[in-house]
C-alpha cells in the first residue's frame, strides 16, 4: 500500500534504508560539497592591483584550476537561472514591463560577450577593493551574459506558450498565482529551458577561457583556472601545457555532460506536453543513481516538504487581482503615459550618447570604427558561406545514414562545446611557421568553434526529412543537381538557417579574441572591429571600448534584422515540413 502512489511519507525506515547506489552517491555528494566550499573560499582571497597570481604550468595543478573554472561556470549558471526566471516572469505577466524588457533583451543579446567584460570589469573591481572577488565577479558576469539572454528568451516564450486549456484548468481549480507559476508555468517551460541551458553552457566554455585572463589598463590579472593556465602556456610558448589544458577541458565538459545535462534532459522528458508516449531516452546512469539512492530520496522529500509549506503559505495570502491583458480605458491612458515615458527616456539617452561620443572620441573615430565593423562583417559572411559549402554536403551525407548520424551527433555536440580558443596557439604557431598572411588566415579562427552548429543542424534537418520524399525522388529519377535543388536544399533550409544564425552570432563574439592572437611575444593582428576592441581593452581606453562594443552591437542587430530574421520567416512560412 505504501508504494502505491509513489512518494508516501509514512514508512520512513524501509524506504530510507541504504542501498547499493548510496555507496556511490554519498561520497560523491559529500565530496562535491567540500570541493565547492574550498573553491568559494579561494575566490575571496585578498588581492591588490598590480599583484601577479602565480599560475604554475605543472599538470598536477590542473585539477585545482579546473575546479575553479567549473565553479565560475556553475555560479554563472545559477545566476542566469535566477535572472531568467525573474525577468521572463515579469515580461510575461505585465504588458507594460514587456514593452521595455523584451527590446532591451533583444539588444543585450547582440552585445558581444567579451565587450561586457571590458566594460564592467572596472566597476566590479571598485565594488570589492583589495579582494580578488571583483575580478571573479567580472569573469562570472561575462559567462553569465553568454547564458542569461538565451535562457530568458526561452523562458519568456514558454510562459507565453502555455496551452490555453491548461491555463483555464488552473484557473478553474483556483490555483493561486504562486501555485500556478510552480505547478503550471515552470514545469511547462522546463524542457526548453534545460535544452537552452545545455546549449548556453556549451557556448559558455569559450567565454570561461577568454574571461579568466582579464586586462585592465595595461595590467593583466590571471584568475586561477584553465583559461589562465593556457594564457601562461601561450606566454611561455609551451605546447605541452596547451595539450594538458585541452585534455583537462575535455574531461570537464564530459563531467558536466554526464553528471548534469544527460540526466536533466532525460528527466525533463516527462514535462513535455506532446501527447504520445514513446521516443523515450535511455535513462543515463547518473539519473538512475539519483533516483535510486536513498540519501538523495531523503533530500528530495525535504525539498518537497518545503515546497508544500510554501504552497500552504501562499494559500493563506490573498490572491493577487487578475491582471487583465485586454486594455481597459484607464489602462489605455496609463499605457500611453508609460509609452511616453519610455520614448522620452530613449530620446534623452540618445542625445546623451551623441554628446558623449562627440566629446570623448569624435565623429572621425566613429567613422573609422564603422569601417572596421564592415571589414569584420565581410569576414563573417564569407566564413559562413565557406562553412556552408563545406559542411552542408558532409552533413547531408551523414544525415542520409541515420545509424552513423546517431553515433556522430554527440561528438559534434561535444566539438561545439569545446572552447575553440584553446586551439588558437596551435593555429598561430602554424601561421608563423608557414609565414601566412594574418589578415586572411586569422579569419577561420572566428568560426572554428561555431561551424559545428551548421553541421549539427544540417544533420538533424536531413534526418527529419521523411524517407517518403527520397523514395519519390528515386522513383521519378530525380538525381544530382535537381535532387539538391528540389529535395535536399528546401528540405534542410529551416535547420540550416537555425545553424547559420548561431554560427554567425558566435563568430561576431569570437572576433574579439580571434583578430588579435599572441604566441609568446609574437602577436598577430587582422584589421577589424574585434581587434579594435581587444586593443582598446588592453590599453584601458573606456570610451573607445564602449564605442567599439556599441558599433559591433549595431552590426549584429542589423544583420539579424535584415538577413537572418527574414530567412527565418521564409523558412517558417514556406518550408516547414509539418
Amino acid at each position: 500500500m505504501a508504494q502505491r502512489w509513489g512518494l508516501p511519507i509514512v514508512a520512513w525506515p524501509s524506504r530510507l534504508r541504504p542501498n547499493v547506489w548510496d555507496g556511490i552517491a554519498l561520497p560523491l555528494v559529500l565530496g562535491a560539497v567540500i570541493l565547492l566550499a574550498w573553491a568559494s573560499q579561494q575566490m575571496s582571497q585578498p588581492f591588490h592591483v598590480g599583484e601577479r597570481l602565480p599560475i604554475a604550468l605543472d599538470p598536477r595543478m590542473l585539477p585545482q584550476y579546473a575546479l575553479r573554472t567549473v565553479m565560475r561556470m556553475a555560479l554563472a549558471l545559477v545566476g542566469s537561472l535566477v535572472f531568467s526566471i525573474v525577468y521572463a516572469a515579469a515580461a510575461a505577466k505585465s504588458r507594460r514591463a514587456e514593452k521595455l524588457l523584451i527590446p532591451v533583451l533583444d539588444i543585450l543579446q547582440s552585445v558581444p560577450i567579451l565587450g561586457f567584460l571590458s566594460i564592467t570589469v572596472t566597476g566590479f573591481i571598485a565594488l570589492f577593493p583589495g579582494s580578488l572577488l571583483g575580478y571573479e565577479c567580472a569573469a562570472i558576469f561575462a559567462i553569465f551574459t553568454s547564458q542569461a539572454w538565451n535562457m530568458t528568451f526561452s523562458l519568456y516564450q514558454s510562459f507565453l506558450g502555455v496551452p490555453h486549456d491548461l491555463r483555464e484548468a488552473a484557473r478553474m481549480y483556483r490555483l493561486s498565482p504562486w501555485q500556478s507559476f510552480w505547478q503550471l508555468e515552470m514545469p511547462f517551460a522546463l524542457p526548453n529551458l534545460v535544452w537552452n541551458m545545455m546549449m548556453s553552457v556549451s557556448g559558455g566554455w569559450f567565454f570561461v577561457v577568454a574571461s579568466e585572463a582579464i586586462s585592465v589598463g595595461g595590467n593583466t590579472v590571471l584568475l586561477p583556472g584553465i583559461g589562465s593556465y593556457i594564457a601562461v602556456a601561450i606566454d611561455r610558448r609551451n605546447l605541452h601545457a596547451v595539450g594538458y589544458a585541452i585534455f583537462a577541458m575535455l574531461v570537464l565538459i564530459l563531467i558536466y555532460d554526464q553528471l548534469l545535462f544527460r540526466p536533466l534532459l532525460a528527466w525533463v522528458q516527462r514535462f513535455k506536453v506532446e501527447e504520445i508516449a514513446g521516443d523515450e531516452i535511455e535513462p543515463p546512469w547518473f539519473l538512475v543513481m539519483v533516483q535510486r539512492a536513498r540519501v538523495i530520496r531523503g533530500l528530495a522529500l525535504a525539498v518537497a516538504l518545503v515546497a508544500r509549506l510554501s504552497s500552504r503559505v501562499s494559500h493563506t495570502l490573498p490572491s493577487l487581482p487578475q491582471v487583465a491583458r485586454s486594455p481597459q480605458r484607464t489602462g489605455r491612458i496609463l499605457d500611453l503615459a508609460w509609452t511616453a515615458i519610455l520614448a522620452v527616456g530613449a530620446a534623452a539617452a540618445a542625445v546623451e550618447i551623441g554628446r558623449y561620443i562627440r566629446v570623448e572620441v569624435g565623429w572621425h573615430e566613429v567613422a573609422h570604427v564603422v569601417l572596421l565593423g564592415a571589414i569584420t562583417l565581410v569576414r563573417v559572411i564569407v566564413l559562413i558561406v565557406l562553412a556552408a559549402l563545406i559542411w552542408v554536403p558532409i552533413g547531408v551525407w551523414i544525415g542520409l545514414r541515420p545509424r552513423l548520424a546517431r553515433r556522430i551527433q554527440p561528438v559534434i555536440q561535444f566539438l561545439a562545446a569545446f572552447p575553440a580558443n584553446l586551439f588558437f596557439p596551435i593555429a598561430v604557431s602554424a601561421i608563423v611557421a608557414f609565414r601566412l598572411d594574418a589578415e586572411v588566415w586569422l579569419s577561420p579562427l572566428m568560426i572554428l568553434g561555431t561551424q559545428w552548429y551548421i553541421l549539427f543542424n544540417v544533420i538533424a534537418g536531413t534526418l527529419s526529412l521523411p524517407t517518403d520524399y527520397q523514395f519519390v525522388a528515386g522513383n521519378l529519377g530525380v538525381r544530382r543537381w535537381l535532387w539538391w535543388r528540389r529535395l535536399i536544399l528546401p528540405g534542410i533550409f529551416p535547420a540550416f538557417v537555425t545553424g547559420a544564425v548561431t554560427a554567425s552570432g558566435g563568430s561576431w563574439n569570437a572576433s574579439i579574441v580571434a583578430e588579435v592572437v599572441r604566441w609568446g611575444d609574437t602577436s598577430l593582428q587582422a584589421t577589424g572591429i574585434g581587434a579594435y576592441i581587444a586593443n582598446e581593452t588592453a590599453a584601458g581606453d573606456f570610451p573607445r571600448i564602449a564605442l567599439g562594443v556599441a558599433v559591433l552591437c549595431l552590426y549584429v542587430l542589423l544583420l539579424n534584422r535584415l538577413l537572418w530574421r527574414r530567412l527565418y520567416q521564409l523558412a517558417e512560412e514556406r518550408l516547414r515540413l509539418d
Partner: protein, 439 residues
Amino acid sequence: MPAEITLAVEAGTSLIAANAVCKTYATGDAAGRLVLDHVDFALKEGEIVAILGKSGSGKSTFLRVLAGLTEPSDGFATYRGRPVTAPVQGMAMVFQSFALFPWLTVLGNVELGLEAQGVPMDDRHRRAIAAIDLIGLDGFESAYPKELSGGMRQRVGFARALVVNPDVLLLDEPFSQLDVLTAETLRGDIEDLWRDRRIPTKGIILVSHNIEDAVVLADRIIVFGSDPGCIRADIPVTLPRPRDQANPIFRSLVDQVYALLTTVPGAEAAKRRAEPIGLGYRVPDASIQQLTGLLDALSQPPYEGRADLPKLAESEHLSTDSLMVLVETLQLLGFAQVGGGDIEMLPPGRAFAAADLQHRKQIYADHLRRAVPLAAHIRRVLDERPGHSAPEGRFLAELEDYLSEEEARQVFETVINWGRYAELFAYDIDSGVLSLENP
C-alpha cells in the same frame, strides 16, 4: 431594477443563472462582433442541461461566462444568487482536450484542486483515491497522462472535477475527442453515477454538438443559434432513465433537434431571401471534395435526392458538426434545402451531380457569384482593375470591418479555395496577389 428581482426570486431554486449575458469580441471596426446576444438561462437543482449548437455558435464562450473564466461584456452570471466574476468553489469543469498536467501523475492531477484549496495531505490522498476508484481508474494512480488512452485521460479529467465535490459540473464537449465506443461507455458511467446519486453534484451543464449525447443525458436541451449566439429552443426531455436509443420517441427527439440545428428558422430565412448575406458573413469552412462527395452520395440510391440527416451522417461517416458545415454550404449555394430533419436536393444540385468536371466548375462558379458576396466582390474588383490583379490585403481589410483578424483570414481562405475550384480567380500565396490569369 428587474435584474435584482429575478435574483431574489431565483435564489432558492437556481444553481446557476445567466441574466441577459452578452459577449463582444474586438474586430477591426469599433463595434466588434457580437457572439452572445442577451442570453437568459437558469440551471435548476437536480437537472442536467445540454447546450447544443454549431461550432462557433458561442456555446463554449457561454459556458466560460458561467464558470467565471470569461467576463461578459454585458449582463451577468450568478451562482447560488451571487454574481460570478472569477471561478468559484463549487463549480468544476471537464475540458474537451482533457487539460491534464502532463508532468503530474493521475494522482497528482486529481489532487490538484484539493491542493489549491489547502486540504491537508492525508485528507487529500484519501479523497483523491476515492475519486479515482469511483471513476474506475484504480491501479493507474502512478501513471502519467501520456501513458493513458484518450478515454482513460478523460476519466482522469472527471476524477479531477469530482474530487472537489462540486455542486455544479460543467462539461465542455467532454466526449468529442474520444472514439464512439469509448465515448458511449464513459457517458454511460457518468449517467450511472448521476442516477444512483453516488456523486454530490446537484446540476450538470453539458456543452456538445453531439445530439445523441444530449438526448441520452439531459433533462433539458437548449439549442443555440449562431451569429450572434442566442437560445433558439428549450426542449424538455422526459424519457425515463436509462434511455433506450432504439425507442421511437428517442429517435424522433433526435430528429427534432437535428432539424432545429440544420434549418434556418422561418423569420430569418425570409429575411435572408429578401436581403442576401453580407460581405462579412462567416461562410462555413467546407471543402470542395467533401461537398462534391456529399452531392454525389445524395443523388444516388438509396437517397435519390432526399435523405434523413442523422442517417446520412451515419452512412457517410460524418460527424454532426462536419455534416452541418456541408449542409449549410449547400443551402447557401442553393444546391439543397433542409426541412424537418431531411435534406432535399434542388435542381442546381441535381444538375451539378449529373455534370462532368468542367460543367461542374461552371455551375459552381455561377452559384458562388450569386450566393457569396465576397466571391462576387473579388471577381468584380479584378474585372474592373486595369491589370486584373489586386493584393489580398485590401479584401482582408474590408472583411476585418466585420470579423476578427483570425476569422477574416479563415473566411478569405475558404472563399479563395472555392474561387480557385470554380476558376473565378487565381491566387498566388507567395505574393498574396489575386488575379484573373490562370497559369
